[in-house]
């Protein structure tokens, strides 16, 4: 069979005939409700517009630590009761903290929807912490850091890369996990202040998606969240403005107990505001480094056999508040030097910066994008998360569905211009990991 060419047909539009409504309570809480009766499940997602970028000096990791303590008790809910109650009700739940936001989410049998809303409202409106529960969560978070970063091969990669790519003092200079000393310095009083400042109706989008009626969803939101006082306005985020590209390459060379040499290259690119400027970078990401049909896969994995195969050799970050990073992360095959790998990557980047991409590549990326969009909205949880994101950033739900149209409108010229602007050689932060020459550690 010969290689099929991209056809004109597309994946089905994700919007379809969705039954969906948005609403704003008097206290400022924005609510999205979508009715989807296919499965007896409902997703509840609360996206708070606060992340690690909003942390005060000396308190790195606090937004994430605070996410943990939100499960440790409120006016009518005892420590640990939130998780226990919802899991006994068959919920899948958790929370995540990133640079730009904190999200609390659960998917549960729709008969328990009101229970989830009651629990979320109780902790939005009140906190009831003790020194004991705060200390416990500090210890848990420190173990999370050990587990996910300090005890993992290459676990320091992202932390080193962001420290290089964003100057000290910039909100993205440190990761949401924070550092041990700052976690040790956090206090219960900090937690109370953080809750008062950031956790209220105006900083939150509540999305309810699934086996629920539109009017029912709005009524439930009014009932449980309507009595929560407003914050008096959403607090501003700290200012962050960087030059569009890095002025000169920077490097951090690490020798560590790792199984193979690893090269990580970050390029500064425009923030992810879902504008054509950023969309063009997303196209570049897929052309260069996503899938077996990408240029980097072809050059590095198939033709030169320099790096270990991955269908995601390049990933574009999605930071919203300031410039984000386009990151190539590759591990060398046995016996291959990182210098050779880096030269090969630079060759591919230069080729695209100089000559642009082809129509066939753009069409391939469109198909990948349509598929990703469709799958990205397939579950009630994914849609609830997406609605919270676009309402927070655009206050316009249509953005949740316009990715395919934006991709279709993208031109070769826009992508070529993006390549010319952002792939320039000085726009690099590079982190290398080389295995420790330790005879006792053959890994």
């Amino acid at each position: 069979m010969s290689a099929p060419t991209a056809a004109a047909t597309r994946l089905p539009a994700a919007t379809g005939d969705r039954a969906i409504v948005t609403h704003r309570l008097d206290n400022g809480l924005r609510v999205v409700v979508e009715e989807d009766r296919r499965v007896p499940l409902t997703a509840v997602n609360l996206r708070y517009d606060v992340g690690s970028r909003d942390e005060e000096p000396g308190r790195t990791g606090f937004a994430h630590l605070f996410e943990h303590v939100m499960f440790e008790g409120s006016r009518n809910v005892a420590a640990g009761e939130h998780f226990a109650t919802l899991q006994a009700a068959g919920a899948t739940l958790n929370a995540t903290t990133s640079f730009d936001r904190t999200t609390y989410y659960q998917t549960l049998p729709s008969t328990h929807l009101e229970l989830a809303l009651w629990l979320e409202a109780d902790r939005m409106g009140s906190l009831d912490l003790t020194e004991e529960t705060f200390e416990n969560q500090r210890a848990v978070v420190k173990n999370e850091r050990r587990q996910s970063y300090d005890n993992q091969p290459y676990g320091d990669t992202t932390e080193r890369l962001y420290a290089l790519a964003y100057p000290a003092g910039h909100p993205y200079h440190h990761l949401p996990i924070g550092c041990m000393d700052d976690l040790d310095a956090a206090t219960l009083a900090d937690a109370a202040r953080f809750h008062r400042r950031w956790y209220g109706p105006e900083t939150c989008v509540l999305s309810i998606v699934g086996d629920v009626g539109l009017a029912e969803g709005i009524d439930l939101a009014e009932r449980h969240f309507g009595g929560i006082p407003s914050l008096g306005g959403a607090p501003p985020h700290p200012p962050a403005t960087l030059p569009p590209t890095m002025p000169a390459p920077t490097r951090d060379e690490v020798t560590a107990r790792v199984p193979a040499p690893q090269l990580t290259i970050g390029l500064r690119v425009p923030r992810d505001d879902e504008s054509p400027t950023h969309d063009a970078v997303d196209v570049l990401e897929r052309v260069l480094g996503r899938g077996r049909g990408s240029r980097l896969y072809r050059a590095l994995v198939i033709e030169r056999q320099l790096v270990q195969p991955s269908t995601s050799l390049l990933r574009c970050g999605h930071l919203r508040g300031d410039a984000t990073l386009l990151v190539a992360r590759v591990r060398a095959r046995s016996g291959v030097e990182l210098g050779e790998v880096e030269a090969a990557i630079e060759e591919v980047l230069a080729e695209v910066a100089g000559e642009g991409i082809t129509a066939g590549e753009l069409e391939r990326v469109r198909m990948m994008g349509h598929r990703a969009h469709h799958l990205g909205l397939a579950t009630v949880a994914a849609r609830a998360d997406r609605y919270g994101q676009v309402m927070t950033e655009h206050d316009d739900l249509e953005h949740a569905f316009d990715t395919p149209a934006r991709l279709d409108a993208m031109t070769l010229e826009q992508v070529t211009e993006a390549a010319r602007r952002w792939l320039v050689p000085h726009n690099r932060a590079v982190v290398t990991h080389v295995p420790t020459p330790d005879p006792e550690d053959p890994r």
Partner: protein
């Protein structure tokens, strides 16, 4: 405005979820299983063989074969194959598990014929040249090196090698480096031929109102050709029992070694990964449902006993879990956590105490009810999308669970009494048989773990090859 909160809602009882009822038809040698997901835009098609790496006679051959399927054909190299797949908006994947192999594609429904043709090209004309096999081998060796540098993977590998020693399950997730180096292109070609000669189950998941199941089956049988028989495998036995190595009765005894500690040295580790357990019955043992409920009380959800003690009371871990790894012919009970290094000995004592207290006096009615509710009420999430549904049904088929039996486990869970759960824990959760694997800094831990409390200590300073 002062804070006004609505009263706590009254508890409600969700309706029992109805599992899908797949259609089953025969098309020549193929069993065709269709699972309806109304109004689904996507369709998922998989060829399933109840043969995995435990069945291979040449260790590592199925691993290299799965790397070479769904990546290239005789006509399309990896780059062109990747472009072809992307251009269809399709995802093609070969998956190897201990007891099953699958080759599948998911794609928007109207492109299924083209995507399925590409998938069948991959199966019927794969690139198994010496160069391709050498490349797959090099990549597998790199991946194995990477896995064994991960303390969690290293803990799992060490655990299964110890508790399943002497059976094919004792190989671990990937074949050894020596085994991978010994596989030849001829071995791979023979393995591919054996797959092609064995009629797979064809699993089609999507909106069956818009999919012609028989046409899909006809497309498959036409490409696989007349060599396909219902039992035509060349190098693989009929089932796990007949190869003489995998116990068939689902009652694998614990190894007779008693308690022991295996400390795998990881210099400078700031945490110790703990993997604790022993062999256990298979998925088909009559106690499976009750054992699963008991282990959910021990380490299933956030409010399980292990998590509450180690995380919420002691603050020495990010989380702890207990699983019944229940395969078709074999099983294991496995407790997992990672604790800060200076709390390693404390964690082992705490885990021992929590397990002892679960077995006697046993779980409470409330705990069993919570575990039951947690397990049962999440069932709809396993069928939310085409992909979820196909994964769920394929996993069941791979375990030898018929398409008409998808809801049986939930029914057993719903019926199990606290007394039955307690009895199952008594029979199958045995502290006296615990193998405790610790992946951590032996220079800091060997002395305190060498006191014999958890069994004799073996220190492993060189990781497996």
């Amino acid at each position: 405005m002062t804070l006004r909160l609505a009263p706590r809602p009254q508890p409600t009882q969700p309706a029992r979820f109805a599992h899908p009822e797949p259609t089953v038809e025969r098309h020549g040698p193929l069993e065709v299983v269709g699972v309806d997901v109304p109004n689904a835009g996507m369709v998922d098609v998989r060829l399933l063989w109840p043969r995995g790496w435990v069945h291979e006679r040449t260790s590592g051959v199925s691993e290299l074969t799965s790397r070479l399927l769904a990546t290239a054909t005789g006509e399309l190299d990896r780059f062109r194959f990747g472009c072809a797949s992307d251009a269809l908006g399709a995802h093609l994947e070969a998956t190897l598990q201990s007891e099953a192999t699958s080759l599948g594609v998911d794609v928007v429904a109207e492109r299924l014929p083209d995507a399925l043709a590409l998938l069948l090209d991959a199966l019927t004309t794969p690139d198994v040249s010496t160069a391709a096999v050498d490349r797959a081998r090099a990549e597998a060796l790199d991946q194995r090196r990477r896995l064994l540098a991960d303390p969690n993977e290293l803990g799992s590998e060490t655990f299964v090698r110890r508790v399943h020693a002497g059976t094919p399950y004792g190989r671990g997730r990937s074949a050894s480096s020596d085994a991978l180096r010994a596989v030849t292109a001829e071995d791979v070609a023979l393995h591919v031929a054996s797959l092609r000669a064995t009629a797979p189950t064809l699993l089609v998941t999507g909106d069956l109102a818009t999919i012609d199941l028989l046409a899909v089956a006809a497309q498959v049988t036409a490409r696989l050709g007349p060599a396909v028989t219902a039992n035509g495998d060349l190098d693989m036995p009929d089932d796990g029992a007949s190869n003489g190595q995998v116990p068939a009765d689902g009652t694998v005894p614990a190894d007779g070694g008693g308690r022991r500690v295996v400390l795998v040295h990881r210099p400078g580790a700031v945490q110790s990964v703990l993997v604790i357990g022993h062999p256990a019955p298979s998925r088909h043992h009559p106690d499976h449902a009750a054992t699963g409920l008991g282990l959910a009380v021990l380490g299933g959800a956030f409010h399980s006993r292990l998590n509450l003690r180690l995380r919420e009371d002691c603050g020495i871990t990010y989380g702890a879990r207990a699983h019944h790894v229940a395969r078709r012919w074999c099983g294991a009970i496995m407790l997992r956590t990672a604790v800060q290094t200076d709390a390693t000995a404390q964690a082992l004592v705490e885990i021992d105490r929590v397990v002892a207290q679960l077995v006697a006096p046993g779980p409470t009615d409330e705990e069993v009810d919570d575990a039951r509710s947690w397990l049962l009420q999440r069932t709809p999430q396993r069928y939310e999308t085409v992909r979820h549904t196909a994964d769920t049904v394929a996993a069941a088929l791979g375990l030898g669970i018929g398409p008409e039996q998808l809801g049986v486990l939930d029914e057993q869970r719903a019926r199990a009494t606290t007394a039955e759960v307690w009895a199952a824990l008594h029979r199958h959760l045995r502290r006296d048989a615990f193998t405790t694997v610790v992946v951590g800094d032996a220079d800091r831990l060997a002395d305190e773990l060498g006191d014999g409390v958890h069994g004799p200590l073996e220190v492993v300073r060189a990781p497996p090859a």
